[in-house]
């Protein structure tokens, strides 16, 4: 989730009210932000909602806090006027990055804090909401250097040259993708295309190369920049508009005046930003019912206004709830309901005994596993609990096939264990200097490939390592286990590559093989650097369970 750095002094200025640092933590929670660290004036917060880009800036956070503190309420007011400026969209961009929305914000007082917040917000919106710039990319440029109309079009990778932001020399679009840091990071978005998007002004000066980088001249702003041109491009029109709204409202909160730009497509023309109220109806009885607290209609209205909604009673118990369309997270009345809960205060909701009366029950499987573990402890085995993920190379040493991971993070854990006895062997290796005998067992998850399907099961594996150990010790344990489980079984001679030939067998229940046991082959012990004999047994518990119940 986005991590945002805010300046405490800046926040106080924006909410135009004095608050203490100790109050801030709770206030931030209303804006779904959790304080991670405070360092002098800098508060590092984690914004928890990945669908609320409007809360990823100090300006957006301040908007909510103002509502909570009663400094303002209802939908925040933003005024827009026409700039008369145009952005002309070339039809050839249609299949590459079809949408663009722009805005002009004049007379902003950015300063260091505002500049820092703007750049940060731009980045967070592109990363999370903009799906790493694929869905949405944002550019901010120096309006005073732009001669309108501006053109948004697709060009060949080597057709245009410009100096990229903070670069030193002119580069073609192709070179930018190959050589600059941003080009390498986001070049994947354009990989499949033979034409790239570009935004140029009337003098053919490059403003930006979306979604990669701005130009170093027009496309560069500083804390002193007063008049800003914002462009948002992307593949999803709604997301493009929402992102533009998030950007311009943040700028307007710093004194900026928003002006609309006419974006001229081949078949239509729209003036952006399109800041407007959307609405949803809210059944107050449903709110009361789901909240579980008897709350008056008036109280709900008051809480909603605090959370920056406008409300209008359209029926006795029905509200028309309006919100500004920088919010794209409202899919149903539930999203509004959450804001009612937040404003009410989660910690103000009184405790109540849970009335849903049901009978609690463990799965038979869980009980069965417990019984088996009890039996093993009675046999003086120590229970280990080891990872389900294993190393394929270790399993190969035992001639075992396994299900492999496509994206392992370590060779030690690149597969799923088909059996547990390899872990028991590893445990013996780990403890080889300990006092003997060592008797270890584990009951746990395993999975094997059966044709192309995974076959999961709970298995039991146990092993004995001692100065001398024979198969009989294992067989005595098997006898004890099955007697106590009340399951009839028999053993059959069977050879396995990891056991000494002639000293291993399989366990059969109801005609089905459900396990095996044997003395581990010295070639394996040698490979593991183990110089004590080891006998082991592995039983598929899930299969037995089917026979028992």
């Amino acid at each position: 989730m986005p991590k945002v750095e805010i300046y405490f002094s800046d926040l106080k200025k924006l909410i135009s009210k004095e608050v203490s640092l100790s109050e801030v933590e709770e206030l931030l929670s209303y804006a779904k932000c959790e304080v991670e660290e405070v360092e002098g004036d800098v508060i590092k917060v984690e914004s928890k909602d990945s669908n609320r880009p409007d809360l990823w800036s100090v300006e957006g956070i301040a908007r909510i806090i103002k509502g909570i503190l009663g400094v303002e309420n209802g939908i925040p007011k933003y005024y827009t006027q026409d700039s008369g400026k145009k952005v002309i969209v070339d039809n050839n961009i249609r299949f590459i990055r079809p949408y663009i929305a722009c805005a002009i914000v004049k007379d902003v007082n950015l300063g260091e804090e505002g500049y820092h917040s703007l750049i940060q917000l731009q980045d967070k919106v592109m990363q999370t909401y903009g799906r790493k710039r694929k869905k949405v990319a944002i550019g901010t440029s120096n309006l005073d250097l732009i001669e309108f109309p501006v053109y948004y079009k697709a060009v060949k990778p080597e057709e245009i040259k410009f100096v990229p932001l903070y670069g030193e020399k002119e580069m073609t679009l192709k070179e930018i993708l190959e050589k600059t840091e941003k080009g390498k990071e986001y070049g994947w978005i354009l990989r499949e295309f033979s034409f790239y998007p570009i935004l140029v002004d009337n003098k053919n000066e490059v403003i930006s190369f979306p979604p990669i980088i701005n130009s170093n001249t027009v496309g560069r702003i500083s804390p002193e920049t007063k008049n800003i041109f914002v462009d948002v491009t992307g593949t999803d029109w709604e997301a493009v508009l929402t992102s533009l709204n998030v950007m311009v409202t943040a700028l307007a909160d710093r004194g900026g005046k928003i002006e609309k730009v006419e974006v001229v497509y081949l078949d239509k023309s729209v003036k952006t930003p399109m800041l407007e109220a959307k609405s949803i109806s809210l059944d107050l009885n449903k709110v009361r019912k789901l909240l579980g607290v008897d709350i008056s209609n008036e109280k709900v209205e008051e809480l909603l206004k605090k959370m920056r909604y406008d409300v209008e009673r359209i029926d006795k118990d029905v509200l028309k709830v309006s919100y500004l369309n920088y919010r794209s997270d409202i899919f149903s009345w539930r999203d509004v309901f959450e804001d009612v809960c937040i404003a009410y205060g989660y910690n103000n909701i009184p405790y109540k005994k849970l009335e849903v009366s049901t009978v609690g029950k463990l799965k038979t499987e869980t009980n069965f596993l417990r019984i088996i573990r009890d039996i093993m402890v009675g046999l003086k085995f120590i229970e280990v609990h080891t990872p389900v993920l294993m190393s394929k190379s270790f399993l190969n040493l035992l001639d075992l096939e396994c299900i492999e991971l496509e994206n392992p993070v370590s060779e030690n854990y690149d597969s799923i264990r088909p059996y547990i006895f390899p872990n028991i062997l590893e445990a013996f290796v780990y403890n080889k200097k300990e006092e003997l005998p060592l008797q270890l067992f584990e009951v746990g998850l395993t999975a094997r490939k059966k044709r192309d399907d995974p076959e999961e099961s709970y298995n039991l594996a146990f092993g004995i390592m001692d100065t001398k150990t024979t198969l009989n010790q294992i067989r005595e344990a098997i006898e004890f286990i099955f007697t106590n489980l009340g399951v009839k079984y028999r053993v059959e001679q069977e050879n396995y590559s990891f056991f000494v030939p002639g000293r291993s067998g399989k366990i059969v229940v109801e005609g089905a093989g459900i396990g095996f046991f044997g003395e581990v082959h010295p070639k394996i012990l040698e490979n593991l650097d183990l110089y004590y004999p080891v006998s082991i047994c592995e039983i598929n518990i899930s299969k037995i369970l089917k026979f028992v119940f």
Binding site: E34, K48, N51, T128, R131, K132, K135, L290, L291, V293, F331, S332, R334, F337, E338, C341, I342, Y346, I349, Y351, K352, K353, L354, E355, V356, S357, T358, G360, K361, K363, R373, V377, G378, F381, E383, V384, H385, T386, P387, V388, L389, I403, E404, L405, E406, N407, P408, V409, S410, Y413, I416, A427, Y430, E435, Q439, L445, K449, D452, P454, E456
Partner: protein, 491 residues
């Protein structure tokens, strides 16, 4: 009267006011030296004897040393050869059966005595008569001797023999001598050497011999060590303990596959397919497995919700086989079951898998505790109350703070922090009411509250484990030493 072991009595009987060696004492007492020494140790601890311990070092020849004793030292052989040849090329020495490893040591010895010089790869004789102390030392070692029999100069040579040339080895041997203390004398006089029963045997019982004998008291001050006994894994026992708590609160356990497809793991939980948190880094994908059948009706409905809200859906992606990365997948599977009960309460403590850097705080697999409650009348207040109840039952605290949170599948969402008596405020879990976009495709029309607790974190606190990897430890010593009672430390 001090209680004495029969061994102690036997030893005490033969001791006197004068020092005797261990050998003498054990011979008189008719015991082995080890038994005698053990008894002397105990008696010393009781202040009855004075025990002297003397360590003596002896030196003897190694195999190579013995060879030189027979054949002569290589420096002597080199000197003899030079007497004959006057000068010789270094490279030619091999021909005369010199071990290359010994050549430099021999040249060193002779050079030090100015008997030879080495020039342009040749050894040239300068002085024939040399006194080789090395030879005398070697001959003196025809049998093992105490180190004390050697002079200062000889010791230097021995050091060279031992460390650089491997001709001798030094062994140390401990000598013991003991005598009675004043208290020991008094005790020895009073000791009754009557026959006592050490171990009660069947014979003694059958023949009734115990009636005429006395039982020897056991010395309980002696330490004992617990040997290899069976033991359950304390971490799993902790999880069992929590399971039992939840059953006590009326929850039914859920179980299900840990290998499943994206659809069950995330799609049906309204998590957008193109969401950054779903990228390859956050889920383990599995090679070459066939996707599972997804009920067609459910698939269509879930897809519809995704397209309506997220405007993105990819059938192939939905089918990809993954390892369960959140237990909520199990809640989803449960909601799809025909025998789902409404009203109903379900829970699971199961393993989930996530790619991560492995360190003290992160491992690739861990347990999650999750529960759901389905009921027509369930409310957000019930959820908040349930969280408080869980904090009380599982963590043992009534001091909790709740914060707004975000989970893709719940709205509203909440996070809970609890005040732990030792650790202060800790994050313990998250919860919420499942979105209608989640429940509707399952045909569920009542509210469903869902909650999850970080059970591994709680286990680590209870078991006082600092490194998360220790939850999967192979170390038998650690497993043996964690007390079971730790799991109960949370009231």
């Amino acid at each position: 009267m001090i209680s004495l072991h029969p061994l102690e009595k036997k030893v005490l009987k033969v001791l006197s006011e004068n020092f005797q060696t261990l050998k003498e004492i054990s011979k008189k007492a008719g015991l082995s030296e080890i038994e005698t020494l053990r008894a002397l140790g105990w008696l010393k601890n009781k202040g009855l004897v004075e025990l002297l311990e003397k360590e003596e070092k002896t030196i003897k020849l190694t195999f190579l040393g013995k060879k030189y004793l027979e054949k002569g030292l290589p420096e002597r052989r080199l000197l003899d050869l030079l007497k004959e040849k006057k000068e010789i090329f270094l490279a030619d020495l091999v021909k005369y059966d010199f071990d290359p490893n010994e050549v430099s040591a021999s040249i060193g010895v002779l050079k030090k005595r100015e008997s030879i010089e080495v020039k342009e790869g040749k050894i040239i004789l300068k002085k024939e008569d040399v006194d080789l102390l090395e030879e005398k030392v070697l001959q003196k070692l025809n049998k093992e001797k105490p180190l004390s029999e050697f002079s200062e100069d000889e010791l230097k040579i021995l050091e060279d023999f031992q460390k650089r040339r491997g001709l001798v080895e030094i062994k140390s041997k401990k000598e013991y001598a003991a005598k009675l203390t004043e208290k020991g004398k008094e005790t020895a006089e009073k000791v009754e050497y009557k026959e006592e029963i050490g171990i009660l045997t069947k014979d003694l019982l059958v023949k009734g011999e115990w009636k005429s004998k006395e039982f020897r008291a056991f010395d309980l001050t002696l330490p004992v060590y617990s040997k290899s006994f069976g033991k359950k894994n304390v971490y799993l026992l902790f999880l069992d303990y929590i399971r039992d708590k939840l059953v006590g609160l009326g929850f039914k356990e859920m179980k299900g596959n840990f290998i499943l497809n994206n659809f069950w793991n995330m799609d049906c939980l309204f998590m957008p397919q193109d969401h950054p948190a779903r990228e390859i880094h956050d889920t383990f994908y599995v090679k070459n497995l066939k996707p599972f059948e997804i009920p067609k009706n459910l698939l269509e409905k879930v897809k519809e919700e995704h397209l309506r809200c997220w405007k993105y859906w990819n059938d192939e992606f939905s089918k990809k086989v993954v390892l369960r990365s959140q237990v909520t997948a199990l809640s989803a599977l449960t909601m799809a079951r025909e025998d789902l009960e409404i009203p109903g309460k379900y829970f699971a403590i199961e393993k989930v898998f996530r790619p991560d850097e492995i360190d003290a705080k992160h491992f690739l697999e861990f347990y999650q505790l999750e529960g759901i409650v389905l009921d027509e009348k369930i409310t957000f207040r019930d959820l908040i109350s349930l969280l408080k109840l869980l904090a009380k039952e599982i963590i043992g605290t009534e001091d909790v703070k709740l914060y707004p949170a975000y989970f893709p599948f719940t709205e509203p969402s909440v996070e809970m922090f609890a005040k732990h008596p030792n650790l202060g405020w800790i994050e313990v879990g998250g919860a919420g009411i499942f979105r209608e976009e989640v429940t509707k495709p399952f045909g569920i029309n009542v509210p469903v509250i869902a909650w999850g607790l970080g059970i591994d974190r709680l286990a680590m606190i209870a078991l006082e484990i600092e490194d998360v990897r220790d939850l999967h430890t192979y170390d038998v010593n650690k497993l043996k030493s964690v007390p079971y009672s730790k799991i109960l430390c949370q009231k």
